[in-house]
């Protein structure tokens, strides 16, 4: 019994080894079609990857701008500095407040003067013209109005300067970006899958006769399919790797040029590729593999029914 099982296992191992070699050999012997499948897959991955990187960067830029959109909470002018500071503990208790930084009248005046470029015109200005204030950063800009309403209820808060329309604008922009990018990525993915599967189908159609011969001399479907699986796997791995390095090179090149051309610091928050290296590598690897394997194995299905 054990000997019999050993023989079966030996035969299976031999078959597997042979089929793996066949898959590798097939890829090279049908070089042009393999090359075409790799090119189409690489092109699709790079297009989707680049678009995703653009969207990701835009989202980060919007988030960065959102962070810069702060609200000012002015404290009653009759409060002294110590009393004014104590209001901060209540401000921090309000939902959606991420951070509240105190700025005294004097600091506010100095900042104002500095913003105006200094000069003698402001020499006699008195700090009492200004109010103590808190610079408040919110967690979610979409809730600006509700937060402002809650802050107004705090004793000692005299006034609030908030540009809720700008905050809402950022929120809307982010929503549009999210929905738009998902929709475009889905469309790109579907188009890519269609193109890749058609290219692989074409490659398999080229071999329908070969598959027919295998069937008629007694090959099982699994025996026929395995080399195609290996081939699809290799096409996927190669495509994923080529697309990854291409994406890396193109991205680095473009971001370097853009940063150099950006004199006002608008693009300072562009993500360095190394920061997303693993995510892109895994995404490209998995997508390449899935597309390669599913594409080749699915494509030969209809030729197996002989």
């Amino acid at each position: 019994m054990t000997e019999w099982m050993g023989t079966i296992l030996m035969k299976r191992a031999r078959k597997l080894g042979y089929l793996f070699k066949e898959g590798v050999h097939n890829m090279f012997s049908h070089g042009f079609m393999s090359f075409a499948a790799i090119c189409v897959t690489v092109a699709c991955l790079v297009i989707i990857g680049s678009f995703s990187m653009i969207v990701y960067n835009m989202q980060l830029m919007v988030q960065d701008l959102e962070q810069r959109n702060r609200i000012l909470v002015y404290i009653d002018e009759n409060y002294n500095t110590a009393e004014a500071k104590s209001v901060g503990s209540q401000i921090n208790l309000v939902n959606n407040v991420q951070q509240a930084v105190f700025q005294s009248r004097t600091e506010a005046m100095e900042r104002f003067v500095a913003q105006q470029g200094g000069g003698e015109a402001y020499a006699g200005i008195d700090a009492s013209t200004f109010r103590d204030r808190f610079i408040v950063t919110l967690e979610d800009n979409a809730l600006t109005q509700q937060t402002v309403d809650a802050l107004r209820q705090i004793k000692g808060v005299a006034d609030i300067a908030a540009r809720s329309e700008i905050a809402e604008g950022f929120t809307t922009l982010q929503r549009i970006l999210n929905i738009g990018s998902v929709a475009i990525i889905v469309v790109l993915l579907v188009v890519s899958l269609f193109m890749i599967s058609n290219t692989i189908k074409l490659a398999m159609y080229d071999r329908r006769e070969e598959i027919g011969i295998m069937k008629i001399i007694g090959a099982t479907n699994r025996f026929i399919r395995f080399p195609y699986f290996v081939e699809g796997f290799l096409i996927g791995v190669i495509s994923g790797a080529v697309a990854f390095f291409l994406e890396w090179g193109v991205y680095d090149l473009l971001t370097n040029r853009l940063m150099r051309a950006d004199s006002v610091g608008l693009l300072s928050s562009l993500v360095p590729f190394k920061q997303v290296l693993w995510v892109v590598a895994i995404a490209f690897g998995v997508t390449g593999l899935l597309v390669g394997i599913i594409g080749s194995v699915m494509s030969i299905r209809r030729f197996l029914d002989v």
Binding site: M10, R14, K15, I213, I216, I217, G218, A219, T220
Partner: protein, 229 residues
């Protein structure tokens, strides 16, 4: 062994390719299956290789009852027969050796077995010096010999040859038939489907003639007799 019991095959389009055929071929026989185009010869081959199922009746090949066979058992059944086609059907990017070895790979033969058996079979068909060539580097007759070697290599109980000489000149055709006769002499059942009456008449073998899906003659008296009747 082949057993057709009242077999009818009607295609989806409605044409009746076989109409109640009954025939029996014993192990070790050499049989010619003859008939004009559209008589049902190809349908018989497709039924024998389980590419088609009969509409009614029973088909038994080497102990497999094909009207009941499960899909997963078909490859094992096909390994009991070796099929030879008019257009050779060799894998173009494999050498002669690899084309023949491929049939052994399917049954999980070891490299040692393959290295021993393939040269023997190539020698049997007279291609011992062509092992490293690709099919398109060979003549038609040589390609057909490769196909015969491939059909033989797993020692099948039966060889089915579908118009094996259709693409060959008379001299090469005769050589192929002689080779098939030699294979039959070694104990393999051989069924040759052809419409070349001269070739059939050069051998004194059992001839089954079919027309319009029916057996119209079955005997040792040859194709020519059938045509006169």
């Amino acid at each position: 062994m082949i057993d057709f019991e009242n077999v009818t095959k009607v295609y989806e389009a409605g044409n009746r390719a076989l109409d109640g055929i009954t025939l029996h071929i014993e192990d070790g026989e050499f049989v010619f299956l003859v008939g004009p185009s559209g008589s049902g010869k190809s349908t018989i081959i497709k039924l024998l290789t389980a590419e088609l199922e009969p509409t009614s009746g029973s088909v038994t090949v080497n102990g497999y009852q094909l009207e009941k066979i499960k899909k997963r058992a078909i490859p094992a059944m096909r390994r009991t027969i070796g099929v030879i086609f008019q257009d050779f059907r060799l894998i173009e990017n494999k050498t002669v050796f690899d084309n023949v070895a491929f049939a052994m790979r399917i049954v999980g033969a070891s490299n040692r077995e393959i290295k021993k058996r393939v040269p023997y079979v190539l020698d049997l068909v007279g291609l011992e010096n062509r092992a490293r060539r690709l099919p398109n580097e060979l003549s038609g007759g040589e390609q057909q010999r490769v196909a015969i070697a491939r059909a033989l290599v797993n020692n099948p109980a039966m060889i089915i040859a579908d118009e094996p000489t259709g693409n060959l000149d008379p001299a090469r055709s005769y050589e192929i038939m002689m080779l098939l006769e030699r294979i039959n002499a070694l104990g393999t059942t051989v069924m040759v489907v052809t419409h070349e009456k001269e070739l059939v008449n050069r051998f004194t073998k059992r001839v089954i003639a079919i027309d319009e899906g029916r057996v119209i003659n079955d005997g040792m008296d040859g194709y020519y007799t059938y045509e006169e009747s």
